[in-house]
């Protein structure tokens, strides 16, 4: 229901072109339909959901020391006394067992997700051209990208959960006695890579993001289906592709932050 009317522009004294009537009512002032506006406001709201989680991450992260060679020894090893360095935790790639490839796999994941944003842009652009075949093609690529990302995340999680071959030996105080125990991998209660909070935050925040990606894929499939059955062609515009596209880009943008926090700093 976008108001597709060009407005007369009034020239003010300062020779500045300014449409006085934009905010006078009776029009959609930002030339945006209500649905797209709602998506924007939803995204603002969701930004705060993620911000709260990332603030939580920051607060807990900085209540622990980082690994300092001068204090904790020259060779990095996992310990629940300090926050682990990400390149030691995320250093595996499927089928390359035992090869130290720090942050390569997550790099690939990130690339896939950002690439799926590119195909989404192409789908939106095809929608502007009313090119149904191209919308279908690029939506399909976007869906594939989303599924590939979720699959990679599943592998990343399962690797994180199963842990390294040697595990980490921790000291525990049980009934007044110190007991040594080797733990493998991580779950919500214990964690071989570092403090349990590290795993808690990793699972919660990447999981919350993964849930967003999953809903994005579901929406994309819906949009693909409706585009493929010609609903949008009959409707005369592909605005739904644009709205879901906004959501998809947002989810990608959030990943950039999640990626920065968990993998880079």
């Amino acid at each position: 229901m976008a108001a597709t009317v060009t407005h007369d522009t009034l020239t003010t004294d300062s020779d500045q072109v300014f449409d006085k009537k934009t905010w006078m009512g009776g029009v959609e002032p930002m030339k945006v339909s209500y649905g797209k506006l709602m998506m924007w406001f939803f995204l603002i709201s969701d930004t705060f959901t993620f911000s709260a989680l990332l603030v939580t991450y920051g607060l807990i992260r900085y209540s622990y020391p980082a690994w300092d060679p001068a204090v904790f020894g020259e060779v990095f090893k996992f310990s629940n006394l300090y926050w682990p360095s990400p390149e030691h935790v995320y250093n595996s790639v499927p089928f390359l067992h035992g090869v130290n490839l720090p942050l390569i796999f997550v790099g690939i994941m990130t690339f896939i997700l950002i690439f799926s944003s590119v195909t989404m842009v192409l789908a939106v652009e095809a929608g502007h051209r009313m090119d149904q075949a191209d919308v279908e093609k690029y939506m399909l690529w976007t869906i594939l990208g989303g599924i590939a990302f979720l699959g990679s995340q599943a592998w990343e999680w399962s690797h994180f959960i199963h842990g390294t071959e040697t595990g980490t030996t921790i000291n525990e105080l049980v009934n007044g006695q110190t007991i040594q125990r080797t733990i493998f991998g991580a779950n919500l209660v214990e964690n071989q890579y570092g403090p349990p909070a590290f795993a808690d935050l990793f699972f919660f925040i990447t999981g919350f993001h993964g849930t967003h990606v999953f809903s994005g894929v579901v929406l994309n499939v819906l949009i693909f289906y409706r585009a493929a059955t010609g609903l949008y062609a009959r409707r005369g515009h592909y605005e739904m592709v644009e709205k879901v596209g906004l959501y998809w880009h947002f989810v990608d943008l959030v990943w950039v932050f999640v990626f920065t926090f968990f993998y880079l700093v």
Partner: protein, 627 residues
Amino acid sequence: MATVSANSATVAHAAEHDHHEPQSFWRTYIFSEDHKTIAKQYLISGIIWSIIGISLSVMFRLQLGFPNMKLDFLRPILGSWINETGKLDPDFYLALVTMHGTIMVFFVLTAGLSGTFSNFLIPLQVGARDMASGFLNMLSYWFFFLASMIMLGSLFIETGPASGGWVIYPPLSALPQAHKGSELGMTLWLISMALFIVSQLLGGINYITTVINLRTRGMSFSKLPLTIWAFFLTAVLGLISFPVLLSAALLLIFDRSFGTSFYLSEIYIKGEALPNVGGSPILFQHLFWFLGHPEVYIVLLPALGMTSEIIATNSRKPIFGYRAMIASMMGIAFLAFIVWAHHMFVTGMNPFLGSIFMFLTLIIAVPSAVKAFNYITTLWRGNIRFTPAMLFSIGLVSFFISGGLTGLILGNSALDIQLHDTYFVVAHFHLVMGAASAFGLLAGVYHWFPKMFGRMMNEKLGYVHFWLTFIGIYLVFFPMHYVGIAGFPRRYYAFTSYDFTKNIFADMNAFISLAAIFTFTAQWVFIYNFVHSLIKGRKATQNPWKSNTLEWTTPINPGHGNWPGEIPAVYRWPYDYSKPGAKDDFIPQNVPYSQTPESNLPHENELIGLEKEIEAQNLNDQFKQPH
């Protein structure tokens, strides 16, 4: 060209409208997408919730005022929460306090107030056929309904509802073994609130979008009634703050059910050490109050907005300082986000940080004072009509001032350390946000009842209701300040075990409880008036208060789409009351300047030239769009 084609679309649509099938009962009254029906649904739900919420407070006031009283007569309602000796169960006392707070803040004063009046007034006052998305609006109500049912259900489970206070601070709320009320009741609380937040989000994006996109031609932001400004800013506050509560609640759910340690660290419970390390309960407080503080303005701003409208209408004067009112609401809305830690002065925060939050908090006094003075100066030498709505609005201003003054005291961290968690705080926020917002809600009901139901409420009963409530509320909360200064802490089951509380203020507490029962009883006058007027009230005229805003240009019982023909255009601000030279003492917003040459100011005569352009700019009528 555009206008011509738009008009032909109207004709086509009008023809199409004749063929609309009458909708079924379910679509008309239950799963309605009409904003007016949804508003009434919110209103009725809010009234029912307020009866429940206030009843709970009367129950714990009985315990506080009369600690030795036999409460066996409550057994039919409370069952085994009244123990064998006829006393209220101490665990259930905490549950009562918690549920009273939760229900009143979220279900009555957020959903019942903003849900009712944002829904009802936004489309009517900006000149729209309905909300931007009727479907999401309906969904918003039904998410709220589901949240309500879960919260209500939690009152009836064996372990009782949540009882960690409405702020649900961990670790108490995070450890089910800590307390009866941290078991299933707490889980249900969190589920209910998560659904409530979804409902708020759906409502909020709708309100904001409607105000931006669906204002009728001529209705610029500088001509919006202050009610709409208030609802708009309230929706923005909710949009930004509620998601943070959602995050906080989700993290708490994980701590409770899945063994994580976001809020837990180094805890002994029942002599046993818990394995949780690394979390921080202070973190929860930061996240909670990032919602919690804006929440008090979510509750208050709509009430202030409606008060502006009602006071201007019934003083027959333009609101004093229209732009200052908008600016101060914006100021309050902005400051709302950077003062949250004043709720945490005693929770182990860096004292330097405390003084920054103190400074920011005290700045809120400036826009608040601007508003208070503007209300008073609007009343000043006005042609005041004391309708019940007007009385409640003036009562709101009174509560806002007397409660706000103690806010200055509590905002000082040095003083707050003495008064924190005492009845002084309880008295402060009940006056400034509880009673003030409740008066806004009541004023709104009295004022817009004719538009909602096409009938007038009984004025005499309205006066009785006002005076009983106004006096009753002061009788409850004024003495409570003294109890607080004396050092009585809130949320305590009884004060009989401590030397410093044993012998003093027992009579004062009994007095407060009697006043609370008195005030609660007085509300039945309103309930009776509401129901009776609904059925037998005097038929309303189209514009009973001689008001300027657009809702009074609709038919007495507006139907689908609100206006039968074209939506009226708007030419002037909504506060042209008693304009010198005008023949009536009010000029509605849809009267063009060209029709009122006798009262136009010089700059308004210049605006006559714009009228044609305004009229032509009719491009967002929802009935002219394909739907």
